[in-house]
């Protein structure tokens, strides 16, 4: 790969991003502009921004590589991402969230919950949870982006990290959500075009759809023995029921990530950025197609890369890249695609990381600024926009520190930890806030607190992937996880924490006083 050509392409790309960030900055005059993109986003921009924020580099490279290792079972994650993450989210959550949010003048997800339950405590606690948990998720994307820049430009990691952070922070701080959404839409379009081409070209190269799949099916006998022991039955087969990989696929990936998407603060806030439900109706189509291409296509290619690597090198994809799952997709692109496409794909990967990260920075900043500082210290003398900007700077610094300080074992789990915590903590209260008028303020508060507490407990003491690198369980009880009976150590913490927060929500609702009818009328008018 020619570094000069790549540098030129990256500079052109950064100029485009800088221009869009500047447009966002010029169009940002009020708090509503800064936090909600003026509530008048175009449906295409809203949908692409939602999709590009949803799909990070790790969704493409990490899960794509996992498909290379374990096969096409990940298609169920694609199905849930589209059906729950787009269709259910937009149609059954988005429209009503937008209306209630507007009626209650909410500018952020914590403010939505706080105003809906008439509770400053809920807003502050939700803001704090987001501000504390999100940097871990942001650090994953930040470190991934910096490593990527380090490897393609052969520059020092610290330099790459500082450069990447400064570029991101500048347009998020200046342009607010308008800047974030305009750049997201451009980045999402680049991702879409690249992944579309990638699948079409791959099928062409592998001899067509049916023959490519058949070739992969014929490789079932080559599954390595250690993977076969985990339930791997071939790359075009679902894993063996009740095997280790079956539990990981169904609970951690399909349910954890597939359902976790519904309570993501950076995604929920996008429903409030459009001026009517008509825009959301129009955005459903763009969102559905985008997610199908950006996840479904790359997971299929991940699995099919085995056919390519085997025919070229006589090795399985995982063996051809030295056992590192994250290298399967990049290595496949390098070996199988024309050179001009490699440059474009680099930009697509950069776009995937930047679009997710910019929203994370914005959400962190608005959470600490609007939901915590402004609520606790209402007389700071600064306006909301200024506080949110300071909040973003603070969030960026914390993410950087986390990226530097925490061991990679924990950072690698950052996405799953954040998705799990958000779903268990916010999902029951959020759904009830929209569809259950009887639900009470105390019930929402206790559901949030119990969901958080159970999540943290499950992460620290039950789920092997986090309890092992955290080491708290080992220090207190002398073992890596409390229940060593299969499959408890591999079941996603969400499967434990979500039922608890749902149960608490229902129980407390029926023992506390219902909200006033006048207030509910105001919420749902």
């Amino acid at each position: 790969m020619n570094t000069f050509t790549l540098g030129l392409v990256v500079i052109l790309y950064l100029l485009l991003i800088a221009y869009l960030g500047y447009v966002g900055y010029r169009k940002t005059k009020t708090t509503k502009d800064y936090l909600l993109a003026g509530r008048d986003s175009h449906p295409f921009i809203m949908a692409m921004s939602y999709g590009a924020t949803f799909i990070s580099t790790s969704a493409i490279v990490g899960f794509g590589g996992m498909a290379g290792k374990f096969g096409m079972g990940l298609i169920w994650l694609v199905f849930l991402n589209i059906f729950i993450g787009i269709f259910i989210a937009f149609v059954f959550f988005g429209r009503i969230t937008r209306r209630v949010g507007l009626n209650l003048d909410a500018h952020t997800f914590p403010e939505f919950l706080g105003n809906r339950f008439q509770s400053k405590a809920i807003q502050i606690i939700s803001g704090l949870i987001i501000f504390v948990a999100m940097p871990l998720y942001a650090a994953v994307v930040l470190i991934g982006g910096a490593r990527f820049i380090e490897s393609i430009f052969q520059i020092d990691f610290t330099m790459a990290l500082i450069f990447f952070t400064l570029v991101m922070a500048s347009y998020v701080i200046a342009g607010g959500l308008k800047g974030v959404m305009y750049t997201d839409a451009a980045q999402g379009t680049i991702m879409f075009v690249c992944l579309f081409f990638l699948l079409v070209f791959s099928y062409f190269k592998l001899g067509g759809v049916s023959s490519a799949h058949q070739a992969l099916t014929n490789m079932a006998g080559m599954v390595p023995t250690d993977l076969a022991a985990q339930g791997h039955l071939g790359w075009t087969a679902f894993p063996k029921i009740n095997s280790a990989w079956w539990w990981i696929l169904t609970t951690n990936i399909i349910l954890g990530v597939g359902i976790g998407v519904l309570a993501q603060p950076q995604l929920v806030v996008r429903f409030m950025t459009v001026k009517s439900s008509r825009e959301l109706n129009r955005a459903v189509m763009t969102g559905g197609i985008f997610i199908f291409v950006s996840t479904g296509f790359v997971y299929t290619i991940g699995a099919l890369s085995n056919v390519f690597f085997y025919s070229e090198t006589g090795k399985l994809a995982l063996d051809a890249v030295g056992g590192n799952v994250d290298k399967i997709i990049p290595e496949y692109i390098n070996k199988a695609m024309p050179e001009w496409f490699i440059y474009l794909f680099m930009i697509a990967l950069l776009s995937a990381g930047m679009s997710t990260l910019s929203s994370q920075f914005h959400t962190m900043g608005s959470a600490i600024g609007r939901d915590v500082i402004e609520k606790i210290f209402p007389r700071t003398g600064l306006n909301t926009m200024m506080i949110a900007r300071l909040g973003i700077v603070f969030g960026v610094v914390i993410s950087l520190l986390i990226g530097y300080q925490l061991p990679m074992g924990i950072i690698a789990r950052g996405t799953a930890i954040f998705f799990g915590i958000c779903a268990a903590t916010f999902l029951p209260a959020y759904i009830a806030s929209l569809y259950w008028k009887r639900v009470t303020r105390s019930a929402a508060l206790w559901s949030i607190v119990s969901g958080l507490a159970t999540s943290v407990f499950a992460l620290a003491f039950l789920h092997k992937s986090e309890s092992l690198p955290l080491g708290i369980c080992k220090a207190l009880f002398g073992k890596d996880f409390l229940i060593d009976k299969f499959p408890w150590m591999i079941i996603d913490p969400l499967m434990v924490a979500l039922p608890v927060s749902v149960f608490v929500l229902i129980l407390v609702t029926f023992v506390s006083r219902p909200p006033e009818k006048e207030f509910l009328d105001k919420c749902f008018k």
């Binding site: 096969g71 096409m72 079972g73 298609i75 169920w76 694609v78 199905f79 589209i82 059906f83 787009i86 269709f87 149609v91 429209r95 209306r99 759809v209 049916s210 023959s211 490519a212 799949h213 058949q214 070739a215 992969l216 099916t217 039955l233 071939g234 075009t236 087969a237 679902f238 001026k275 009517s276 439900s277 008509r278 109706n281 129009r282 955005a283 459903v284 189509m285 763009t286 969102g287 559905g288 197609i289 199908f292 479904g296």
Partner: protein, 59 residues
């Protein structure tokens, strides 16, 4: 089906494609529908319409 023998896999593909189809059908069906009255055109838009009318009259 298409070289994939396991129904659990092609069912996943089928459901993913049906979900995309549902998204498209929903958008087309409700393209101009809104739960709430659309906001009035802004002052800027009203002024723009007035200017347009004047231009038309002049033409």
């Amino acid at each position: 089906m298409l070289g994939i023998p396991d129904p659990a896999i092609w069912l996943g593909y089928l459901l993913a494609i049906l979900s995309v189809a549902a998204c498209i059908v929903y958008s087309v069906r409700y393209w101009n529908k809104s739960d709430d009255p659309l906001p009035d055109p802004s002052e800027k838009e009203k002024n723009w319409e007035k200017v347009e009318e004047k231009i038309n009259e002049m033409l």
